[in-house]
Symmetry: C2
Subunit: 467 residues, 2 copies
């Protein structure tokens, strides 16, 4: 997500980033990590008038664990082993001193801190379930109380190494607008740097509603990116079928993107930044192609009215204002990065969740990035996230120099010939990019020299065929 | 959708299809067309005890048109022009003699007939809105009455050229199971060949529920494929933002696919065939990759329980039992056909809807298929659909020979060198196919000789990196 037109990640508009491509360690920013207190310890951060409801909430813990186990999200045997083997490191979920040791071990200089350190047994659930399960139909009073409790603790937590942590404030955005706006300013002043809103509004106003304009304005004014994070989903529809949940749990946090976009929120609030966390990024190329085609007037749209709320095609808003905290990026996704936009992909370790890369991040990075160009790797592993979340890369540089893996440690070739071979292997995909914008008829995803020479057949009209 | 392991569409297990690849006309089957009576004419097909409710329904027509216009689905100026310019052809929406003239003109030998001929002004809406808007929360009595009225008319309509039409019975599947099963058998005996269920169950039982087992069993027994079709969506959430509707209207009909799959419906009912109509097929590769990875035990799944309802990975159920009525396929989608599975893609003209290819189907086919191998074109334009919907290709062959476009008319090369060049241009994509199953680390989508030689760097472990 930058203002640049070229999604390839080439060019060097970031003089503050160390760009010695050949040998210097990476400055790694994880755009998706988690921290949270053992639930009972939130009590001092919670207004006293909610303590009775808090006791009720604590009493329901076993029921919550049982529900997760039934759906299959939680596996008893795995849980036991996970906690036994990682006891010390998992304390980094709320202990800042332990946490920086774990980050150092992984080579991660800085991180964006979402709630819910414990994704296995939910022992660090924020009060009243306002963590990753934050939902639009939450009781507004309890929701804001729980969010403030977490936000207060998180600000204290991040203040211990402010250059390394960007705390994400929980924002029950479907509540009273003036309270929501006030919490944005309070969170900003306390040192937090981003805002998490529910993926699902459930029975409240959808995010296209103009009632949210003051919220988006406040987020833009405070330079707090607004983020959804995977977790919430209509579980009551799934029975005990885990596969259903997993197959669509990434769709719900992505959904607000097109609600904001088509209702003109990005046009009205050019300073608004919106991101989708831990939901992958494989879905973005198709969505972007589909939305661009719709806007640019594809064949199928001829019976449809124009889109008055937008002044430019969807991909321009995306490159200007949207990012994806893509967490442990898959190689299939990396192959699609010229359609997604290299600058829109923000890697994350998901520490300390078991589905993340910790504590083997260095090995994981080598396995995943060894044949990716170094300049692009720098953007995806930290450069883009540093800009979105406002990290001080100059302040982080000495730390990165000490703990960051080098390109060589990631298995990336150091010699000019090796580098050139890597660049060349992606040339076709890079040149075709978003094929619907670059005049290419077909996509080109994967390594190789480039599309086949056009087979000399019928004169081709891309507009008619709806490429 | 076939039992074959190879999704490339090569091989020739269909001796009844004309496979003279070089010159013979295509036998084209449109897997997505629409027919419906002008609404008031449904009266004689509707049980008399529902006539009063039918009058009420007719009286609400203006309100429905107004709602479509407000959301922007309907454009007044376009609507006027559309009906003026196509008056004669549009009569083919319910007039069988006119219809076959239009099909002939488009080169379409046979078709699958969904409801709602008029997608612009809804003048042919089936009673009580049970057409493309068929919804799970429909009043059960009215829903079944309206469905039966349409189904009765449709059977009469298809009987005029039974070899050319496969009528899709409307099936309000969330109602009483015994009535639903009875309607399946009644529809089959009346000559209809497929079943359309609502994309959305809304507040009724989701499709993983075992209550539907007798329905899936009856569909399998009668060899009636079960299909969802785009149209329904939670419009109350969209305000007047058409872009939001269009951005997710294809997701809702696809959603039942993973509800059926993960709940084991395809395992319990190996004769069940399920398809998604007019929702594109670009979403299928990512879904399949995602579901296969989950099942095959990816890194992220290690905290999850196994999937007891399935006996094989998702792609095997897909190739065996699932198909996509992909309608006017886009070139971006054709480029992904080796991940989707050539045999899973069923082209359609969407006659007589304005977002379809009628009346310019021949030109459209040339623009879209001119550089696609002929054998694969035969599968996507008709071969696969003929199998799924049980068309008698021998009976259709003389008609296809008369009206079907030849490969040359589609701009496909006739000379062996030209043919070889086309095949060669897709070699890389064909060989890589579903990269997560063929041992390839990255996808390869598009034309070109194949993936770049692997850059000699770190030893790579695909399992760890989660390709």
């Amino acid at each position: 997500m930058t203002a640049r037109q070229n999604p390839s990640g080439s060019g060097d508009p970031y003089p503050d980033l160390d760009r010695n491509r050949d040998r210097n360690p990476y400055l790694i920013v994880s755009s998706d990590c988690h921290a949270g207190l053992p639930t009972e310890e939130y009590r001092p951060y919670l207004e006293a008038r909610f303590h009775r409801e808090f006791d009720d909430f604590l009493g329901q813990r076993d029921a919550r664990i049982e529900e997760s186990t039934r759906l299959g999200i939680r596996n008893e045997g795995f849980a036991r082993k996970w906690f036994e083997e990682n006891e010390e490191g998992l304390r980094g979920g709320w202990d800042a001193a332990q946490r920086v040791k774990e980050l150092d071990g992984d080579g991660v200089a800085a991180e964006v801190v979402f709630p819910d350190a414990d994704a296995v047994d939910s022992r660090t659930a924020a009060p009243f379930g306002v963590g990753l399960g934050l939902s639009g139909d939450q009781d507004p009073a309890l929701g804001m109380a729980g969010a403030k409790a977490h936000n207060r603790w998180l600000a204290d937590f991040c203040a211990q190494h402010p250059e390394r942590h960007c705390g994400v404030a929980l924002l029950p955005v479907t509540g009273a607008v003036e309270e929501v706006v006030a919490e944005i300013h309070r969170a900003k002043e306390s040192g937090l740097g981003a805002l998490m809103i529910p993926s699902m509004w459930v029975d409240r106003a959808p995010y296209h509603d103009r009632r949210y304009d003051p919220v988006w304005a406040a987020a833009a004014e405070t330079r707090m990116p607004v983020v959804t994070h995977s977790g919430a989903a209509p579980r009551h529809e799934y029975g005990d079928h885990l596969g259903i949940y997993v197959s669509e749990v990434t769709w719900w946090p992505a959904r607000p993107l097109w609600f904001l976009l088509w209702s003109g929120a990005f046009e009205r609030h050019p300073g608004l930044r919106f991101g989708v966390a831990e939901s992958g990024c494989w879905w973005l190329p198709n969505l972007l192609w589909f939305m661009d085609r719709l806007y640019l007037g594809a064949h199928g749209g001829k019976k449809l009215s124009p889109f008055a709320e937008l002044k430019r095609p969807p991909h321009e808003y995306l490159d200007r204002q949207v990012f994806v905290c893509a967490t442990n990026t898959k190689r299939r996704e990396l192959a699609q990065r010229y359609e997604i936009g290299v600058d829109n992909i923000l890697w994350g370790s998901d520490f300390p969740h078991p589905e993340g890369t910790w504590p083997a991040t260095r090995t994981w990075l080598r396995d995943t990035f060894h044949d990716i160009p170094v300049a692009e790797t720098r953007r995806m592993l930290g450069g883009a996230a540093a800009e979105v979340f406002g990290f001080d890369t100059a302040a982080l540089a000495p730390l990165a120099a000490r703990i960051g893996p080098t390109p060589a440690e990631l298995g990336q070739p150091e010699d000019p010939e090796g580098r050139a071979a890597v660049e060349e292997s992606w040339r076709g995909a890079r040149e075709v990019g978003r094929h619907w914008l670059t005049g290419h008829d077909f996509p080109y995803v994967g390594t190789g020299p480039g599309p086949a020479a056009h087979v000399p057949t019928a004169p081709h009209r891309a507009e008619e065929a709806g490429s």
